[in-house]
């Protein structure tokens, strides 16, 4: 997994509440058996005026000029500012894959849906929950200034604004550790293989019907 330490990038808005994973990446693109290539279809229904098909070359599709990511001022954005309950809906990991493939490294919102939040960490994306007022201030500052960029310092747990303000944020220590070091969860868990085997043996004693029935 990609590591995340300090990242500075242009911020772009996704200015609506309850953005669901169908909106982040519509279902027709879930048919892919790969992990990459979802970037051109991120926010597909908002971004283009026609209906996207999997495997299609998106370069010739009609763009929705009103959609923020299509505006030149947000070109190359890598920090997404969003509203409450971002990423609700399905468990599809294609949502963070699409954000990542597009180039987003960090999403800032007042709140996130649980599964999406979790999926971000598995893919080197940092989701940051800040109180709604602070998010609102960032939105206003972003709208007021073209090229508005934020520096996200994960080791120090602060966001630095162009005005020189430091905004502290929370992150669970284990998740931070994995993200900063780009660690693979599975490798880490397998270090506990002995404990898992011991648990399994006791569990089998307690509840033998949970084992050996589906074969």
């Amino acid at each position: 997994m990609k590591s995340f330490t300090v990242h500075k990038g242009v911020a772009a808005p996704m200015d609506r509440a309850n953005v669901d994973t169908d909106l982040i990446i519509p279902k027709q693109f879930l048919k892919s058996i790969k992990r990459s290539g979802f970037g051109p279809n991120l926010f597909d229904e908002l971004r283009y005026l026609d209906e996207g098909q999997p495997g299609q070359d998106c370069s010739g599709r009609p763009l929705n000029p009103d959609f923020a990511l299509n505006q030149p001022r947000y070109a190359g954005a890598s920090v997404l500012l969003a509203r409450e309950n971002f990423g609700c809906g399905s468990s599809r990991e294609h949502a963070p894959w699409a954000l990542d493939d597009y180039g987003f490294r960090c999403v800032i919102a007042p709140s996130f849906a649980d599964i999406f939040f979790n999926n971000c960490f598995k893919n080197g994306i940092l989701p940051i929950a800040l109180d709604a007022d602070t998010v609102e201030r960032l939105f206003q500052a972003m709208y007021a200034q073209e090229g508005f960029a934020l520096e996200i310092d994960l080791p120090a747990q602060v966001i630095r604004t162009p005005a020189g303000e430091d905004i502290a944020f929370e992150v669970e220590s284990f998740r931070k550790h994995c993200l900063v070091n780009g660690l693979d969860d599975i490798g880490l868990t397998l270090e506990s293989a002995g404990a898992i085997r011991d648990f399994e043996a006791a569990h089998r004693q307690r509840a033998p019907w949970l084992f050996d029935r589906i074969r």
Binding site: K31, E93, L190, R213
Partner: protein
């Protein structure tokens, strides 16, 4: 010390170890697999040279992409017309063969929507931890299990380690006492709960559904409720084990038998919250107060009783609710103040992991029996949740009831719930749907979904507009 909740007990029984920061390694008893969220996980295993930790914990079934049209279905995987769908289903077959995982392939009688198949086969049982790369895994909590959706990286993690790195959720109790009115079902109850707490109301919680209404509910009804916990923001929903649970589980293919059955039942009898258990949040509803529900917007919380008028956006509590409502009205092509009963669906969909079990089909059939679908309805699809449900429905003659009414009787799968196969809404079309999500484009690009119970969907099919099923008998006599 306060007693434990059902969730506390299930959690405690599965913790392998706890880390300093509060995350835990949780042991997973059952891992269900479908074709959409697993290919990249199997690929990850292969790349790392890893093998599944425990084969007998896994069960796979293709459901999202399978065609439901009998002719297309008859040819098996090779006959799936959409090449991208075909490749995804084939990839699941290949991965299961390579890794030796049991799969109910496309035309196996046991095939169906993964959340219908698990309980039906006894593959998901009380007291288990159950995960699947699908958010509606919450369904299995109805059996008194801890069940929730996971992402694809976690699918790979569970395959490789039989564990999940996770953190304990908070406890929420949703208690519905009293009695439901005639014609009001589990679907209406859960929609009313979502209407009350909102789609983020359950975020960070595991919900336990309890109270007289839930006690009186069948397992099918409990599954419908737990299924939609995720629409209330909660990853997991659950119901305590009682005789209804045990009666349902007994005799299922993978359920314990003989001596093990008695031993299991003794353990399962403990799977309820203690009388003095503490919940972080309690929500209470009265069964009598719940009317049949219809969603009108693009989020499951935009839901109203069938006898209501659509809201005036300005009257809503917050600026963001007002803005969301305006956007929803525009997308749905509806006007504030319209009576719900004046909304006219173009299509009707009875199916999905929320409402495609035998009881759902019986409810819908009871409403349409001897009647005809209205001329204005372009299509009314009935899609059973599994091959077993289909066979049972046919044995009871329900297929004839639907076909005689002018509805289409299909092969099992997810179908128009998310329109990954050929079953879709056209742009601008309204659909009375028994599924669980009314997001923009969910059932087809530009499609407009109204979530309802099977009886409500069936009644709308006959009447050509939404009607209050509480009056159905009188109305049609």
């Amino acid at each position: 010390m306060a007693g434990q909740t059902l969730y506390d007990k299930l959690w405690q029984q599965h913790v392998v170890e706890t880390r300093d920061d509060g995350t835990a390694l949780l042991y997973i008893d059952r891992h269900l697999i479908h074709e959409v969220t697993s290919p990249q996980a199997f690929e990850g295993l292969r790349l790392a040279g890893r093998k599944p930790w425990r084969l007998d914990a896994n069960l796979a079934v293709p459901d999202h992409n399978v065609p439901t049209d009998s002719a297309e279905r008859a040819g098996g995987v090779e006959a799936i017309a959409d090449p991208v769908s075909q490749l995804q289903v084939r990839t699941l077959d290949d991965n299961c063969a390579d890794f030796n995982i049991v799969e109910f392939a496309i035309n196996d009688r046991r095939q169906g929507i993964v959340h219908v198949v698990g309980p039906e086969q006894g593959a998901t049982l009380p007291g288990m931890t159950v995960v699947c790369g699908d958010s509606h895994t919450s369904t299995h909590g109805a059996l008194g299990a801890l069940a929730h959706g996971i992402g694809t990286s976690e699918v790979e993690h569970v395959l490789a380690t039989q564990c999940l790195i996770t953190r304990k959720m908070k406890n929420m109790l949703v208690r519905i006492d009293g009695q439901l009115q005639r014609g009001v079902t589990a679907k209406d109850v859960v929609l009313a709960v979502i209407g009350r707490i909102g789609t983020a109301g359950g975020t960070g919680y595991a919900i336990e559904f309890a109270g007289e209404v839930v006690r009186d509910m069948s397992m099918e009804g409990r599954m419908t409720m737990c299924n939609m916990s995720i629409e209330a923001g909660a990853r997991a929903g659950m119901v305590a084990v009682d005789d209804t649970t045990l009666d349902y589980v007994r005799g299922r293919a993978y359920a314990p038998a003989d001596d093990q059955w008695e031993q299991a039942v003794a353990a399962w009898r403990e799977l309820h919250s203690d009388a003095d258990a503490r919940f972080d949040r309690v929500v209470e509803l009265r069964g009598e107060d719940i009317a049949p529900q219809v969603t009108w917007g693009t989020s499951p919380e935009m839901v109203l009783p069938v006898d209501a008028l659509l809201p005036q956006p300005d009257s809503l509590a917050s600026a963001s609710a007002c803005e969301s409502a305006r956007r929803a009205f525009e997308y749905m092509g509806l006007e504030p103040g319209t009576a719900i009963t004046d909304i006219r669906p173009d299509r009707v969909f009875i199916g999905s992991c929320t409402n495609s079990r035998i009881e759902d089909l019986r409810e819908a059939a009871a409403v349409v029996r001897g009647k005809r679908v209205a001329a204005s309805i372009k299509q009314a699809l009935v899609v059973p949740g599994s091959g077993e449900v289909k066979a049972q429905a046919e044995a009871e003659g329900l297929d004839r009831v639907f076909i005689d009414a002018g509805m289409e009787w299909r092969e099992p799968g997810c179908s128009m719930c998310l329109a990954m196969n050929a079953d879709k809404l056209g742009a601008g079309e309204h659909c009375a749907s028994t599924s669980n999500r009314n997001f923009e484009g969910r059932q087809g690009f530009g499609g407009r979904t109204h979530l309802v119970s099977p009886a409500m969907a069936a009644a709308a099919a006959v009447a050509g507009h939404f009607v209050d099923v509480r009056n159905w008998q009188e109305e049609t006599q």
